[in-house]
Every structure is written in C-alpha cells, then in structure tokens.
Amino acid sequence: MSLTRIYGLFLRHFYLITRSFPRILDLVYWPSIQITLWGFISNFFATHTTYYNNAVGVILTCAILYDFLFRTSIGFNMLFLEEIWSRNFTNLFIAPMKIGEILTSLVITALIRSLIGLVPAILLTSPLFGISILDLGIFLFSLFLSLYIFGITLGILVSSGLLRFGPSFENIAWSTMFLLAPFGCIYYPIETLPEIFQKIAYVLPLVYIFEEARNILINQTVNIENVYYAFIWNAFYFSLSIALFYYSFNAAKNKGTLINMGE
C-alpha cells in the first residue's frame, strides 16, 4: 500500500469538493433539510402518541444515524460515479494503483464527505429541537462506526456492480438504501415487520444498530449483544463486498468494461 497514491486519489476528490460551492452546499443541504423535516414530524408525533416518552429525541437521533449511513453509502458511490461521468475512469485504472489503495482512498474520502454533511445537521438539532445526539454517550461512536462500515460496504457492493456491468448499473446505486431501509427498522421496532421480513432484517446489521439506539434513549440501558451482532454482520458483509469488488474487477478485465467505461 502506498500512502502517496492513496493521498493522491484523495486529493483528486478534495480539490473537486473544495473548488465547487454547489457541491459543498449539496453535501450540507440534504442532511439539514432531512433533520429539520423529521424534527417537526417528531414534534407532531410527540403530542399524539404515548409509545415514546421522548419521541422527538428518538426519531431525530435515528434520522441522523440513518442519514449518516445514507450519505456514506451514496458518497462512496458518487466518488466512483464521478470518475465515470468525467471520463477519467480509464486514467485512474491505468495508474499504478492497487485495488486496495483505490478502496482505502475512497473509504477515507467518503467519511469526510459524510461528516461535512452530518456535522451541520447535528448542530442544527440542538437549537431547533433541544435534542443532542450525544445523549447516546460513548456508544454513539460504536453505532456510527457500525453504520459507516455498512454504508461503505453498500458503496463497495454497488461499485462492484458498476465495474462489472458498467454505467447502466448507475440507477441501482441510487436505490440500494431505499431497498434496505424498510428492513433496517430505522424508525420502528422489528416487531412491526411481518415475520418473513423480520427474518431478513435479522441478517442485516442495521436492525441491531437502530434497536440499540432506541434502547439507549428509551430504556437508558445498553445491550452489548446488539453492538456485537452489528459488528459480526458488518464484518461478514464487508469481507463479502471486498471479495466481490476483486471478482468484479477481474470480470471487468475479461469482459472489457474497464476500457469501454471511458468511451
């Protein structure tokens, strides 16, 4: 692994983001709008339900966590798509970069992109709704880490599809998170799902992450088992995504996708 090359690819995206005010605005705008919207919806729920004793806090916290996951995954895909849209894809793949270096650089850049959007959204919740995500305490870090790994995993899986099938796979890039969201039990307990859906949900790390966030906020207790299962499933899917990326890269070299991508 060469840090110089990893830094070089990071710089390519850093320059792109910092040169363009609309890009920075886009990164900040959607999470902030999302949080504001969910804040007002939660305020309304709080006056019409007895389920949550802290409806605004729970829903807003989950909204922030979900948005972090969404931004990380989309952010990773965007970095890959940027290369295709700018017709720079071939230049990147004929540079002497190992696949591991490309992935590492994109993983770091995706984190920075997500944080650019997330930090203003978190700051906004306090003055507007009197909510602080820091109420989750030190377990906040483990939840964020789990979400980040799963977001990156989804990003790598979609990028594998882009490598294997070319730009026509782009639409899938936008829809993955929407497909998984119902099974993630982001805003509701897993019991809300039909039994067959529960079985699917239990093999995703999301359900453990969001169950734990609600558990901490509602019951003020920590269930380490949830954190543990989230990491186990994350490790499984992350390893799978890396293996699939390498497989797709080799398949693309056989099929000719890498050279056609630039044309």
Partner: protein
C-alpha cells in the same frame, strides 16, 4: 536494440466473438510503431490488453522484459496512455490534475516535473485554468503532459491528434518525435491519420478483423502495394483481405 514491448500470440475473445486472433509484434526502444486498421479491427482491444485493462484470452505481453500478468503495477509505473475518449477531471485546474497524477505515479520533485512539461508543451499559462474550460488543442496538450508525468518508457497513443487544427497537430507530432528521440522511449500509435503515421512511424501493423494482415515500413508498404501513399494502401487493405493473405 532492446524491445520495450513484446506481444506474443495474444488472443481476446468476447464469448464466441474473436476480437483479436493471435497477434504478435515487438516495439524497440526509440521506435514508433503504427497500429492501423478500420474501426472494429481490434486496435483498441490490443491497446486495452497492453494497459492491463483487458485480460487476454491467451498469449503473453512483456513490457521492458516484465510479464504483464505478473507485474501489473510495476509495468503501469513505466507506461502511459492518451486518447481523445478519456479526459482529465474537468473541474480541477490543470495544475491540480497534473499534481494528482504525479502523486498517483509517485513522481519525485513534482513541481519541477510540472514546470518542465509546462514549458515543453506550452501550457505554462494554462496551469491555473479549469481543465474543462480549455479548447480541444489545449486539452490535448494537457493530456499529453499527464501522459508524460511519470516519464514513461512506453507510450500508447490512440488518435493523439484527432480533432486538432493543423498547427496544434503539427506541434504535437514534432513534440512526440523530439521526445522519443531524447528519451529513447517506445511509442505505439493508433491513428487514422495516414500522413501522421507516415511521418512518425518506423513501421506499421495493419489490422483487420482481429488479425495483422500486413506490416512493414510505410515506404515499403506503399511500394509493395503499388500505391502512392499510405492512405491508398490502407483503403486497399481495408476493402479486401483475401488477396493479401
């Protein structure tokens, strides 16, 4: 002379379709080899295989005596490519693009290298311009600078002067001739501009339907086929294969 490119009987199949049917050739150092052929003849596929973007179905490729299959990263460090079909990130300035690629190729003394290439390729005044806002001729010279940022031993050029006006086209051709002479590099040039090929190439390969159907020095091919220039030879060979086999 040392062979910097050596291709041994490479084939590339896409399913049942044979895109390249077992071709072999060599390019010595300080040589420009022309790769000619009509669209779909297998030129781009061949270049893709040399760049490691495509895996040959069979056969072997050696760059600077290193087997590509086993030394992909080492080989990519000493090779580069320019094509009108690929571009540099449009929103970055020219300097940022050259800086990024210098990092990817682990170039030492990056600023010195950028200054050197800027002077040689007359892009000094463009360094702080946005790449996407440049004219085709300016973009072409910037892409060439990117392709030379790692001081490649092997340069693969796919239509390097396509869509350039005659003045810029001539500048690029002169630059390539001088650079090749100075650095003793090997260049594989795929082009449809027969005057360019006649001027730059020591020898040419004529491809059709994935095969090499003729090869030799441009002047010898013109004489062999009883034509007055390479374009006429190209047309003759493109339109009929059997009579030359």
């Amino acid at each position: 002379m040392k062979n910097l490119i050596e291709v041994k009987n490479i084939k590339k199949n896409y399913g049942k379709k044979e895109a390249v049917k077992g071709i072999s050739f060599k390019v010595e150092e300080d040589e420009i080899l022309g790769l000619l052929g009509p669209n779909g003849s297998g030129k781009t596929t061949t270049i893709g295989m040399l760049l490691g973007l495509l895996k040959p179905t069979s056969g072997q490729i050696f760059i600077n005596n290193l087997k590509l299959e086993e030394n992909r990263i080492k080989i990519l460090e000493m090779i580069n490519f320019i094509s009108p079909y690929i571009e540099l990130p449009k929103k970055l300035t020219v300097r940022q693009n050259l800086y990024v690629y210098s990092k990817l190729y682990k170039v030492q003394n990056i600023n010195e290298r950028i200054e050197y290439l800027s002077e040689k390729l007359r892009i000094g005044e463009l360094l702080n311009s946005i790449t996407g806002e440049l004219s085709s001729g300016q973009k072409n010279r910037v892409s060439l600078a990117k392709a030379l940022v790692n001081e490649p031993k092997v340069l693969l050029l796919d239509e390097p002067t396509a869509s350039l006006d005659p003045e810029v086209g001539d500048f690029v051709r002169t630059f390539l001739e001088d650079y090749k002479k100075e650095k003793k590099i090997s260049i594989l040039l795929a082009s449809h501009n027969m005057n360019e090929v006649t001027r730059l190439c020591k020898s040419v390969l004529m491809m059709k339907n994935g095969e090499i159907i003729d090869q030799g020095k441009p002047i010898d091919l013109i004489e062999k086929h009883g034509r007055t220039n390479l374009e006429e030879v190209f047309l003759k060979l493109s339109r009929s294969k059997s009579e030359f086999n």
